[in-house]
Symmetry: C2
Subunit: 413 residues, 2 copies
């Protein structure tokens, strides 16, 4: 964790344990962490009871890491016994040497648990292009297997890199007369522009859910949550979100939408995904303001999402918000460059519930005072009505500040 | 012109006059310019002799200005008598009121020259969403019509907004035994991510060129010059490049590639376009370094251009260069997110002629010293070999610095 905490940070929530999930952390020493972090752990080991279902979504970046390549195959079988997360080295773009390091970890844990390697999931996050050191991984995993159980907050801190606060979320739902619980952690702050999946996020539930249906629910939730956030338009090579269901809650197995409680479970999963996605934006590198952009009247929901992300990724819009400047002209520009259907003369744009422009024209007698007051706050809303259809989407981003430049012009050295 | 001049600025070149072109500037007072600029002119009037051919390329931003909408129609006729450029107000997103202001200018000049309105081209640049004030435009045009002729440098200064230096370029070619000359000016610094066209650029030549062929040559040159630069990935609502050919050089009319001197003219036009495009990048908002990115081995030239622009638009790559950090992992990421065919395990990346990664792996025994030295300079080259085809492209951008944030978080106020 970095020293300067995001002004948008929230306290770590009280997170209940999940039956069938045990948490451990250790210090592998993958990188020379800053002085204040020299004692930090950087290897997370999470053990899952037999019978745990798994689903996952992964980055579309074609230069993805071995961890992502392997994980994409592993989720197809739908079963998991363990998760290992390495922080400080993403092991991406490291060729066969990187892949060997991942397979070594899988084998070490599989031997310990007497399971198959395919049931051991591995993620890594950090600098690109340095093969994960095998000796450090071996000793780190050995230490984690011996470690005392730890808390969710310990895990959230251990998977972080440039994150400035620990990020977790929890939810409950009634499923067929049983209370089921979801607890989740996530890391991410820069290189955030998920393309169908994002950063490193892990969701654990005691619900009994059939793997293929869990995958369907996770993929659906992903489309309106992780795929609707951006910090800097840069899509990571390691993005991964995994959901694990241990089945210990005692509910009848959920395998389709007709099952009792399927809707409630899907809603809880969606809530937790949105919560996690928003936490990543709130820890966006250099973020001072949280921006929610709602697009209505598009030709389709997907078109609305693309328009929203075009605005959310515009450096000129993001710097205007940083400067608390209601520069809606830049929003017009970003709508126009999105490559999606739009009619300039029907376009309306508002901030904080006040329209600045309606139907292609500045609002007559537009009073900027309420908008200026809104922009001084930490939470900024932008509303865009295209008025040519019924498609809609909401996306989330943060402003672009000097903090982003400071963090990224001096990251590797 | 702003007060802090780009460190990448070059002196304004000695630019020859073009027969059949006369230059005038005036002060319309479109905006309250900063104190140091209060005396600056902001209206440019360029008169063209009868028989001048014209061609143009314009922004693809669907929220384009009336100037762009009208200009796109006007170039189809191929003839021009005058150009008016307003600075300080882009007149974009101003509906029917903005359009009326443009038509008033066209009519005022057409009356003066006894030509058609369609022969009078108008461009405007500056803040979006404020209708161009008609009274100021009328008085400004009247003053310009009465003004003494001025220099190319005066024109380059008068069309600028956030530009920090005057940008012009000139070229000559032998066409059928006659020397023909091209002189051109351009403005642009932010909101630069041309989509088939860009910013405001004006090229004047005394060559005799048939309008349709001039358009073909300009469109072709545009694809490898203006369409290959980016400052901040934001595509302006007003981008326009116009080429005017007065025909005074005495060459036989060029109307196809078989005409004597057509190749020489095309090469000179291409040179001047690349020169102008690079000048815009060198005046990129906050730019400290000029970055040339060459992509080879792509499946097509267009695919190579898209990969190049994905790298050129990546905030993480641009901040790494600002920090003089040879962080080639970020280049890998940006290649991978481009959405174009690429094979991680064939990818090679170099800086300043030194390979950092070859065929998907860090180079064994990679010595960062020459790369570090290269990155300390003002001109940075990045080479990306995809090794899956024969497509290639070169694109140009600048680094992303605190200067960009400072300029854009405090632009409108």
């Amino acid at each position: 964790m970095s020293e300067a905490i995001s002004p948008l940070a929230s306290p770590f929530p009280a997170m209940p344990p999940i039956a069938g999930v045990s948490l451990r952390i250790a210090r592998a020493g993958y990188k020379d962490w800053a002085k204040s972090q020299q004692e930090r752990c950087d290897l997370t080991y999470i053990e899952l009871d037999k019978g745990t279902a798994v689903a996952g979504v992964f980055t579309r970046n074609v230069c993805c890491s071995s961890e992502v390549e392997l994980g994409r195959e592993q989720v197809k079988a739908g079963h998991a016994r363990a998760l290992v997360v390495n922080a400080g080295n993403s092991n991406a773009f490291t060729g066969y040497r990187g892949r060997e390091a991942v397979e070594q970890i899988m084998e070490q844990v599989a031997d310990h648990l007497e399971c198959t390697m395919a049931e051991v999931f591995v993620s890594s996050t950090g600098v690109i292009g340095v093969p994960l050191p095998k000796d450090k991984a071996r000793e780190g995993v050995a230490a984690a297997l011996e470690a005392e159980p730890c808390s969710w907050e310990d895990v959230a801190n251990t998977i972080g890199t440039t994150d400035t606060f620990a990020k977790g979320a929890t939810a409950q739902a009634m499923v067929g007369g049983k209370t089921i619980t979801l607890s989740a952690v996530i890391k991410g702050s820069g290189m955030i522009a998920p393309d169908m999946a994002t950063m490193l996020g892990y969701i654990f539930t005691d619900a009994a859910v059939e793997p293929a249906f869990l995958q369907e629910l996770l993929s659906t939730a992903n489309r309106s949550t992780f795929s609707c956030i951006t910090v800097d338009s840069d899509t990571s090579t390691s993005d991964t979100v995994l959901a694990f269901a241990t089945g210990k809650a005692g509910n009848a197995l959920i395998h389709c939408f007709d099952c009792p409680g399927a809707d409630a479970f899907a809603a809880a999963l969606n809530d937790i995904c949105r919560n996690l996605a928003q936490l990543v934006v709130k820890d966006g590198e250099g973020a001072q303001k949280f921006i929610e952009i709602t697009v209505t009247g598009a030709v389709s929901d997907e078109s609305a999402r693309k328009v929203g992300l075009s605005v959310a990724n515009s450096p000129l819009v993001k710097t205007a918000i940083a400067g608390e400047d209601a520069n809606w002209g830049r929003v017009v520009m970003a709508v126009g460059k999105a490559g999606e259907p739009a009619d300039r003369d029907k376009l309306s744009i508002g901030f904080g519930g006040t329209w600045a422009a309606r139907e292609g024209l500045p609002v007559a007698g537009y009073d900027e005072a309420p908008v200026a007051a809104h922009l001084k706050g930490q939470n900024v809303t932008i509303t865009i009505d295209l008025d040519i259809g019924t498609g809609r989407a909401t996306v989330w981003t943060c402003d672009l500040t000097h903090g982003y430049i400071s963090i990224n012009a001096d990251y590797r050295s």
